[in-house]
Amino acid sequence: MQAQTRKVILQVDHLKQYFPVKTNSLFKPKNYVKAVDDVSFKLYEGETLSIVGESGCGKSTTGRAILRLDEPTSGKVHYSGKNILELNKRDMRKLRGDLQVIFQDPFASLNPRQTVKQILNEAMAIQEVVPKKERLERLLELLSYVGLPPESLSRYPHEFSGGQRQRIGIARALAVDPRLIICDEAVSALDVSIQAQILNLLKKLQRQFGLTFLFISHDLSVVRHISDRVMVMYLGKVVEIAEKKSLFDQSFHPYTQALLSSIPVPNPKLNRDRVILKGDIPSPIDPPKGCRFHTRCPFVMDRCKTEEPELREVKANHFVSCHLV
């Protein structure tokens, strides 16, 4: 519908990220953690696509692979007509001005020995987006965007609270005029009242600068709040991808359903029929054959154990990979 007319900013095709695992034997074949296993999706200009899933589902690995923070095993990532994965170092560095990332732990991703001014200046210098003379002006502008007082410039990261540090991280990402920001669990470490501030800020900045967000999170409530579309992953595979409304109104994949019903809801009067999954998430080193979810699926059929389901469109712009639908 609407989405099809919109411009694709990033297209990921058959992305795979395998990490070798050390084996104890000299003779056994090498094992791999199939962290991301054949993932494809499109990201439209100006939207927020969320990737949601539990630990080991590959959501963060996908984000890192797109940015080539880890070199992916195979696949293509097209950004403005070019395959990012084939770019040489120089072109890639240029491109990093367009693609920015905000991490979960703002403290770990900020150099403790640099002042805010140095942190932001460094970001601008690498991309050479702002002439030196105008930098101070630009710095103050950036701080005002993220709601930090001008005197923050001469202070060090440890002097700020968690929420404020995340604001610095956002300012750093904004410093180079990016088009796409990958938010990797960007609000997960924050208290709810602070989390709300940061979420509002991200939304405001998106409107202001026409940013595109790839929002990686394990928290479905946050995802619902911020996203336009949602992609659910399980053990390195996409299980469902849809417009937010479509997904939250009627999800098709049993895993998405279970995920939604597992979330504790702050409403004691709400009576839900909960699906509580049995068992643990299997190891991504040796994922189940067939549908990867079949070991925990309440509706498992014989077919699921042998045959891997394809991602199919069940409704307009709503894709599900499950034999049931």
Binding site: E54, S55, D191, S193, H225, L259, P264, P266, P268
Partner: protein, 338 residues
């Protein structure tokens, strides 16, 4: 001597302070609550509000130095834990009151088989022999839903997943059928589908064993799903204490309201989240008046002058806010006259 209608645990005026080189941090600064058997009390608040310190104080597990219980009493079946000798205290720990912690990864001893970690409490408190204790610990592992418990009992924690480790923690805590279980953020480190399993398990075992549960959490969703009553903490104080349904349907304290409004909802769309501006005051430099005043939309002169008491309202909800006192009405009238 001990009346079963009475609360099994009663905390009165508890103050736990930490003395460091930066001064005195009033981490827990005058807390009152009570817990009956079979009941679940939630203690909820954001980081640094003192909820974990409160939970550790109950079994006197606060690292000392720097921590110290400076005032108040903790009555367990009428006996004051604060004044007990180490020997008396040890008989209660892990036997009548036990705890589970946030990090199942680090809360189990990495070099001791999990079965032994459960069995040692049984040998100590229930005076079981080696064999019986081991058998019993396997039973406990079965009870908490660990598959092939005989095999698992011999394994060390690194061989188990996060969810299973938390199950082991629960088995360990409940092995001696305690009367009170303190669960300090028991599911924070776990994935949502595993969290749902663990919360379900705690509820199931509570129904079976009948212990009172204190659920320490930052997650209002967890509170709504597991607790009978809730205490909301802010900067070392309880600011609101209410039955769970009432807290969510009719929150009174401005902080509680702010907290609830700032939550993104899974079943509704919101354009913008309400936020609480500003930051929590440092526990080293607490203001004289209401600790929330600097972030409160209803702030008046009186709020900065004096810390309000936790006062019970006509509907049974207790709230620590000048708006719910007689002084507030007087104050308003004065404003009108002026």
């Amino acid at each position: 001597m001990y009346d079963s209608d009475k609360p099994v645990l009663e905390v009165k005026g508890l103050k736990t302070h930490l003395t460091t080189k930066n001064g005195v941090s009033k981490a827990v600064d005058g807390i009152d609550f009570s817990l009956h058997k079979g009941e679940t009390l939630g203690i909820v608040g954001e980081s640094g509000c003192g909820k974990s310190m409160t939970s550790l104080s109950i079994l006197r597990l606060i690292p000392s130095p720097p921590g110290k219980i400076v005032d108040g009493s903790i009555l367990f079946k009428g006996k004051n834990i604060v004044e007990m000798s180490e020997d008396q205290l040890r008989k209660i720990r892990g036997n009548e009151i036990s705890m589970i912690f946030q990090e199942p990864m680090t809360s189990l001893n990495p070099v001791i088989p999990v079965g032994e970690q459960i069995a040692e409490a049984l040998r100590l408190h229930q005076k079981l022999g080696k064999k019986d204790a081991w058998q019993n610990s396997i039973e406990m592992l079965k009870l908490v839903g660990i598959p092939s418990p005989e095999k698992r009992a011999k394994q060390e924690p690194f061989q188990l997943s996060g969810g299973m480790r938390q199950r082991v923690m629960i088995a360990m805590a409940l092995a001696c059928r305690p009367e009170v279980l303190i669960a300090d953020e028991p599911t924070t480190a776990l994935d949502v589908t595993i969290q749902a399993q663990i919360l379900e398990l705690i509820k199931k075992l509570q129904a079976k064993i009948g212990m009172g549960v204190i659920m320490i959490t930052h997650d209002l969703g967890v509170v709504a799903e597991t607790c009978d009553k809730v205490a909301v903490m802010y900067a070392g104080n309880i600011v609101e204490h209410a039955p769970t349904e009432q807290l969510f349907s009719d929150p009174k304290h401005p902080y509680t309201k702010g907290l609830l409004n700032s939550l993104p909802r899974i079943y509704e769309d919101q354009d913008e989240l309400a936020t609480i501006e500003g930051n929590v005051p440092s526990p080293y430099h607490l203001p004289e008046g209401c600790r929330f005043a600097s972030r409160c939309a209803h702030r008046e002169a009186i709020c900065d002058r004096k810390l309000p008491e936790l006062i019970e309202q006509s509907d049974g909800v207790k709230v620590r806010c000048w708006m719910y006192t007689d002084q507030w009405a007087l104050h308003e009238e004065k404003e009108e006259v002026l």
